[in-house]
Amino acid sequence: MSLLQIRNLRVEFDTAAGPFRALDGVDYTVEAGEVLAIVGESGSGKSVAMLAMMGLLPDSATVTADEMSFEGVDLRSLSTAQRRKVIGKDISMIFQEPIASLNPCFTVGFQLLETLKAHTDLNRRQRRDRVIELLTAVGIPEPERRVNAFPHQMSGGQCQRVMIAIATACHPKLLIADEPTTALDVTIQKQILDLLTGLQRDHGMGLIMITHDMGVVAETADRVVVQYQGKQMETADVLTLFEAPEHPYTRALLSALPENATGDRLPTVSDYTEAFASEQTEART
């Protein structure tokens, strides 16, 4: 039994301009202790897929799937209260825009304490110690002082790390990390990736890593899903993906690194996909 199993997920939004299909039949499977990376272009439905699974999309969204189960339990059969119990404790998420997902009215220490209060049996003192431990683990300097800071008194990357501390506070069985290191320089990124893969290794945590950074994929993933315009282009284990990418979009993604700029223009994926398209037409004629 997989930790998470989603089959044929579709999401459609009602918009003023008519229905918009953000996801068109995607599948995700995550085993305990596995790292699944989801990569793909901006707007390809990576965040929407995870929010759909967590039941966090607005009413304008219609979600359907053939299967959506966590540890064999159909998430859709759960009542809101039951689902809330699973989400937060067993499944937790690092949101893409951390500053927007922290509560501006409470100190970061308070927000961490509340999470521990809701999901653990730790006493007051233990909670306090754990908060310091968590902030230290994500590399926040002077954590004893920083517990009293409000989110707006922290830098972008510090907020992102507080969010990571909150999400990992209760040892979830599945952690969804949506672009968890976008605001971090490579040295701190390394510390965070080590932290996440450590949790995955030591606690058998399943990890879904949404990222546009192929370096992060190379350094963490077991398997990779590649998305493009709401569809799944390719699923492969990490080595195969880098050694023999199958889909033109994946190849384009791997070649679009700024290191590969020719002259003073950067290659974009459309440069490649157009080239592939004409290659294919030429091959046919």
Partner: protein
């Protein structure tokens, strides 16, 4: 001949945080005296560890926060926001793309209005033309006409980041400060945005201060590079000088820590994992 549009001298910014019940108030020196010039039509990239003061610097350059001490001169005019002497032209000439696009967009304003607002407030462009300009801008940042009528929450993270960039360049500011503007973008869209910024710079001689932690992006876009570490500029020079011959330990660590995306490194990692 030097034509510096931005001159910064010994700029400092402290934050005083209120003490708790048992802790005294405390001063945090976020920016500890940085000096630099930016030539008109060029790009200064600012790199540095998370929390080293980059966004604080950006807010001072764009006249949002007042420095604790030091001076900023834009286009020959000294800036002193605490004296309330900043003109509208000055504000219009300097724009910022915030690190957190969500927080900088009004949730009740449709994207079309977001893009047209700067034109409405600062120019006498007629409505129909404003709309055309906004539509054209949407396309330039890789968004679609149907996005015109949508609200900020209906966008993906990377789409919102592009809206913020589009808004900032609507008026072709002389000086544009971009705080991690492409951090949420996949490589293809990132390339499109970087190409767009390069085109605008060529065409209108725009000047950029570009904050980024992505060294490959910095290498591509920067003329000058400044590396900050705990509020200080520990390295400042031409791109080639900094990349080819980094002086400070932090810069060296930064170069060494860049993730490896080659097959050999992946194989080594997987081997280590299965051995464990």
């Amino acid at each position: 001949m030097s034509d510096a549009i931005l001159k910064v001298r010994d700029l400092k910014r402290d934050y005083v945080t209120k003490g708790g019940l048992f802790t005294p108030p405390r001063v945090l020196h976020a920016v500890k005296g940085v000096s630099f010039d930016v030539e008109r039509g060029s790009t200064l990239a600012v790199v540095g560890e998370s929390g080293c003061g980059k966004s604080t610097l950006a807010r001072m350059l764009t006249m949002i926060d007042a420095p604790t001490s030091g001076s900023i001169e834009i286009d020959g005019a000294p800036i002193d926001i605490s004296a309330g002497k900043v003109t509208r032209e000055m504000r219009q000439a300097v724009q910022i793309v915030f690190q957190n696009p969500y927080g900088s967009l009004n949730p009740r304003q449709k994207i079309g209005a977001v893009l047209e607002e700067p034109l409405l407030l600062n120019t006498s462009t007629p409505a129909a033309e404003r709309r055309d300009l906004a539509m054209a801008m949407l396309e330039k940042v890789g968004l679609k006409p149907e996005h015109y009528g949508r609200y900020p929450h209906m966008f993906s993270g990377g789409q919102r980041q592009r809206v913020a960039i589009a808004r900032a360049i609507m008026l072709k500011p002389k000086l544009l400060v971009l705080d991690e503007p492409v951090s949420a973008l996949d490589l293809s869209v990132q390339a499109q945005i970087l190409n767009l910024l390069a085109d605008l710079q060529d065409e209108f001689n725009l000047t950029y201060v570009f904050i980024s932690h992505d060294l490959s992006v910095v290498r591509y876009i920067a003329d000058q590079v400044m590396v900050m570490y705990f509020g200080e500029a520990v390295e400042y020079g031409t791109r080639d000088a900094v990349f080819d011959n980094p002086q400070h330990d932090y810069t060296k660590t930064l170069f060494a820590a860049t993730p490896r995306a080659d097959v050999a490194s992946i194989k080594a990692r997987l081997a280590a994992k299965s051995a464990a």
